[in-house]
C-alpha cells in the first residue's frame, strides 16, 4: 500500500489530468451520439445547445427551477428544484471542485488555447494582487444575478415589475459554453443576434461579445473564464462538504511560492495562508498542480473521505521538475519571476 502511495506521490499528475480532460471532453461533447446520458444536473459545463451532449450543466436546470413563483417553492414544482439541487450535490460531493480541473469542457478548451499560446511563444498575462482581489467577486455577482433574474421573472422582487420572459435562462444566453461548445460539433447555430426585441438584442449581443472575450482572454490569461464562472462560485459554497479535499499543513510551508506560481488561476493565498487547513479557495479548480510543485514533504495533501491519496514530497518535486519536460516551471513563469527579481 505504501509502495502504491509512494508511486502516486512521484507520479505525473498533470499528464493524468490531461488524459482525463480529453476523455471527459469526448464523453461530454459526443456521448449523446452513443445514447449516453450522464445526468441533467452535472456540476460542470455540458451544454444542451450542443447536439450530442451527454449531459446537461446544472446551471440551466437551476435557472429553470428558480423560474417559479414563491408559492410554487412549496409545491411539486419547488420539489423539482430541491431534487435537482440534491442531484447536483450528489455528483459534486464526490469529486468536489476537481470537476473544474479535470472534467469541465470549457476549462479543457482554455487549457488547449494556453498550450497554443505557449507553442507560439507569446507571454501570458497575470492579474496583480489588487486587481485579483477585486475581480474575484464578479463570479459571486454573476451567481447572484443568475439566481435573482429567474426569480424576478415569476415574482416581483423589491417591488419591481416582473422581468421579461425573453431573458429565458439568462446566464445561458451569455455563457461562452453555449457559443463555443456547439462549434465542436460543427454547429454555428448559436452565433446569432436575436432582433426580436430590445432584451433579446442586448442578451445575444452580450453573448457574442463574451464569446470573443473568452477566446482572446483564454489566449493571454490561463483559465481566464474560470475566474468569473458562476459554477465555480456555486461549487465553492458547498466545497467544504466534498469528500475530495485538499489540505495544507502551514507549519511545514516555507512560503517558497511554487504553488502560487504554477497555479493557472494565480491564487496567491495558497502560498501566503499558513493558518488555514482547508486550502481550497473560491477560485481553486483542484487541478493539484500546486501539490506537484510543492517541495515540502506532506505540506499539501489530497485526501478522499479522509484517506490520503496524494501528498507533496521533495522527492516527487525533484523527480517531476528534473526528469520531465512537462514539469519544468513554465517559461512564462520564469520570465515573470526574473522580471519580479529585477523589479525588486
Amino acid at each position: 500500500m505504501n509502495k502504491i502511495k509512494h508511486k502516486i506521490n512521484l507520479a505525473n499528475i498533470s499528464r493524468f489530468r490531461t488524459i482525463i480532460q480529453i476523455l471527459s471532453f469526448i464523453l461530454i461533447m459526443y456521448g449523446g451520439y452513443a445514447a449516453i446520458t450522464i445526468s441533467e444536473r452535472i456540476p460542470t459545463f455540458a451544454c444542451p445547445y450542443a447536439t450530442g451532449s451527454a449531459g446537461t450543466c446544472y446551471l440551466i436546470a437551476m435557472q429553470h427551477g428558480l423560474h417559479i413563483t414563491w408559492a410554487d417553492f412549496a409545491s411539486y414544482r419547488g420539489f423539482g428544484f430541491y431534487t435537482g439541487l440534491l442531484i447536483f450535490l450528489a455528483w459534486f460531493i464526490v469529486f468536489n471542485k476537481s470537476w473544474c480541473g479535470f472534467v469541465c469542457p470549457l476549462g479543457s478548451i482554455q487549457d488547449w488555447i494556453t498550450k497554443l499560446r505557449k507553442l507560439l511563444g507569446i507571454a501570458f498575462t497575470k492579474y496583480d494582487s489588487k486587481l485579483f482581489k477585486k475581480l474575484r467577486f464578479i463570479k459571486f455577482i454573476v451567481l447572484g444575478l443568475l439566481i435573482l433574474i429567474p426569480l424576478g421573472m415569476s415574482n416581483s422582487l423589491f417591488g419591481l415589475p416582473h422581468f421579461s420572459h425573453d431573458l429565458g435562462a439568462p446566464f445561458c444566453q451569455i455563457c461562452p459554453g453555449r457559443t463555443v461548445l456547439p462549434l465542436f460539433t460543427g454547429s454555428t447555430s448559436e452565433l446569432f443576434i436575436d432582433f426580436a426585441n430590445n432584451t433579446t438584442i442586448f442578451m445575444s449581443t452580450l453573448g457574442i461579445i463574451i464569446f470573443v472575450t473568452f477566446i482572446i482572454g483564454s489566449f493571454f490569461k490561463k483559465r481566464f473564464f474560470c475566474f468569473f464562472c458562476p459554477m465555480s462560485a456555486l461549487q465553492f459554497l458547498f466545497s467544504r462538504i466534498g469528500l475530495l479535499r485538499m489540505t495544507k499543513v502551514g507549519s511545514v510551508c516555507t512560503k517558497c511560492g511554487n504553488c502560487s506560481r504554477v497555479c493557472d488561476i494565480g491564487i496567491e493565498q495558497i502560498a501566503e495562508d499558513i493558518t488555514s487547513k482547508f486550502i481550497v479557495k473560491d477560485d481553486c479548480m483542484m487541478c493539484f498542480k500546486c501539490v506537484e510543485a510543492c517541495p515540502e514533504n506532506d505540506c499539501l495533501k489530497v485526501s478522499f473521505a479522509g484517506i490520503s491519496i496524494l501528498n507533496s514530497t521533495d522527492e516527487g518535486f525533484f523527480k517531476r521538475y528534473s526528469d520531465s519536460k512537462t514539469f519544468k516551471i513554465d517559461t512564462d513563469s520564469k520570465e515573470l519571476i526574473d522580471q519580479k527579481k529585477k523589479n525588486d
Partner: protein, 322 residues
C-alpha cells in the same frame, strides 16, 4: 327575378344544412380562447397553451370546441347537436378525467396537465345515415414539458401515439427526426408532415386540407406512404418593430377519407364509411425573420479589434513599467 332566386337558394341551403348538419359540421378543438375567457385564462409554458389553476394550484389546460372551416372564421359553440364521445389520453396511454362545461371560460374542455409528453384529446361522433357510417374525429395534441423536469427520454415522450381501439381514424403529425425535442414549436417555413391512420395504418390518397388563420388553404393528397407535407406559410406581415416572436398563429388541418367497408353500428347497417378528422395546430414566426448570422460577424470583428487593442495597450504600458 334575381332577388327571388337568391332568396330561394338561401332557403334551400339552410334547409339542406339543417338536414345534413352532422355531415357538414366541422368541429375542431381550439387553444385560442373566446373573448370572454381571455380574462380568466393565460398562456402557460413555452408552448403558450391556455391554462388556469384550480383552487389547489393544479394547472389545468383548456380547449374550446369550435365549428367552421377556418381558424379565424369558426364560431365558438356552446353545445353539441350530437353529444360526442370524449377521450383525454395521457402520455402514458391512460384515460384522464376531464370536465366539459360552460363557465366563465366559455364552453370548454379542461383537464389536469401533469405528465410530461404529448396528451391526445379526441372528440368522436359516429352516425349511420343513408347506409353510410359517418365518423367525425376532432383531435388535439398537446405537449407538456417544463425544462426544470429535465430532458431525459425525449424520443419516448415525443413519440407519436395513436389509439385505434378508441378512435378508428386520426391525423398524426410525423415528428422531425432526429432533431425534434421538447422545444419544437412549428414556425413559418417548416415543412410539417402529416399522416392519417385508419386502425393504426397510414393510408394513401387521403385528402388533407390545410387552412391558415388568414384563410390561406392548400389541399394535398397523401402519397403512397400515407404522408402529406405542407410548408407552413407566412400569411402575416407585421412591421419589424411590431414583430412578436412568441405570437402564436393557428392552422386547421382536415383529413377526409371514405371506403366501402360494410358493417353495422347501433343496429343500423352501412355499406360505406366516411371519415373526417380535424387537427388544429399552432405556429410562430420564422426565426429567420429576427435572427441574424451576419451581425455576429461584425460584432466579432469589432470586439476582437477592441479587446486586442486593449491588450496591446496594457502590455506596452506594463513593459515601460518594468
Amino acid at each position: 327575378m334575381y332577388t327571388k332566386l337568391k332568396t330561394v337558394s338561401i332557403i334551400l341551403l339552410l334547409f339542406m344544412s339543417s338536414c345534413f348538419c352532422f355531415a357538414q359540421e366541422n368541429i375542431w378543438l381550439s387553444g385560442d380562447p373566446p373573448p370572454q375567457a381571455k380574462r380568466v385564462v393565460r398562456p402557460s409554458g413555452m408552448q403558450h397553451y391556455m391554462a388556469f389553476r384550480n383552487n389547489r394550484g393544479q394547472e389545468k389546460l383548456i380547449l374550446w370546441p369550435r365549428n367552421g372551416d377556418t381558424p379565424k372564421g369558426s364560431s365558438y359553440i356552446d353545445s353539441f347537436n350530437t353529444e360526442p364521445e370524449i377521450f383525454v389520453v395521457s402520455p402514458a396511454g391512460d384515460l384522464l378525467e376531464y370536465n366539459l362545461s360552460t363557465s366563465d371560460k366559455g364552453f370548454a374542455l379542461t383537464y389536469a396537465f401533469d405528465l410530461e409528453g404529448y396528451h391526445n384529446i379526441y372528440f368522436l361522433w359516429k352516425e349511420v345515415r343513408d347506409e353510410t357510417l359517418f365518423v367525425h374525429v376532432a383531435k388535439a395534441e398537446r405537449l407538456n414539458h417544463k425544462c426544470q423536469n429535465g430532458h431525459r427520454s425525449i424520443s419516448g415522450k415525443i413519440k407519436v401515439k395513436s389509439f385505434p381501439e378508441i378512435v378508428p381514424f386520426e391525423i398524426i403529425r410525423n415528428r422531425f427526426k432526429p432533431t425534434e425535442d421538447f422545444h419544437l414549436i412549428l414556425a413559418s417555413g417548416n415543412v410539417a408532415s402529416f399522416s392519417a391512420l385508419e386502425n393504426n395504418e397510414a393510408i394513401e390518397d387521403v385528402e388533407f386540407i390545410f387552412v391558415t388563420e388568414k384563410g390561406w388553404s392548400k389541399t394535398v393528397n397523401a402519397n403512397e406512404k400515407g404522408i402529406a407535407e405542407f410548408q407552413i406559410p407566412e400569411d402575416y406581415f407585421s412591421k419589424m418593430k411590431e414583430l412578436n416572436k412568441d405570437e402564436t398563429y393557428h392552422f386547421l388541418l382536415t383529413a377526409k377519407y371514405s371506403n366501402s367497408t360494410s358493417g353495422e353500428y347501433q343496429g343500423k347497417a352501412y355499406s360505406k364509411i366516411s371519415y373526417v378528422c380535424t387537427y388544429a395546430g399552432d405556429y410562430e414566426p420564422s426565426p429567420s425573420l429576427y435572427k441574424s448570422s451576419f451581425w455576429p460577424i461584425i460584432i466579432i470583428l469589432f470586439s476582437t479589434l477592441a479587446i486586442g487593442s486593449f491588450i496591446f495597450y496594457s502590455r506596452s504600458k506594463r513593459r515601460r513599467f518594468y
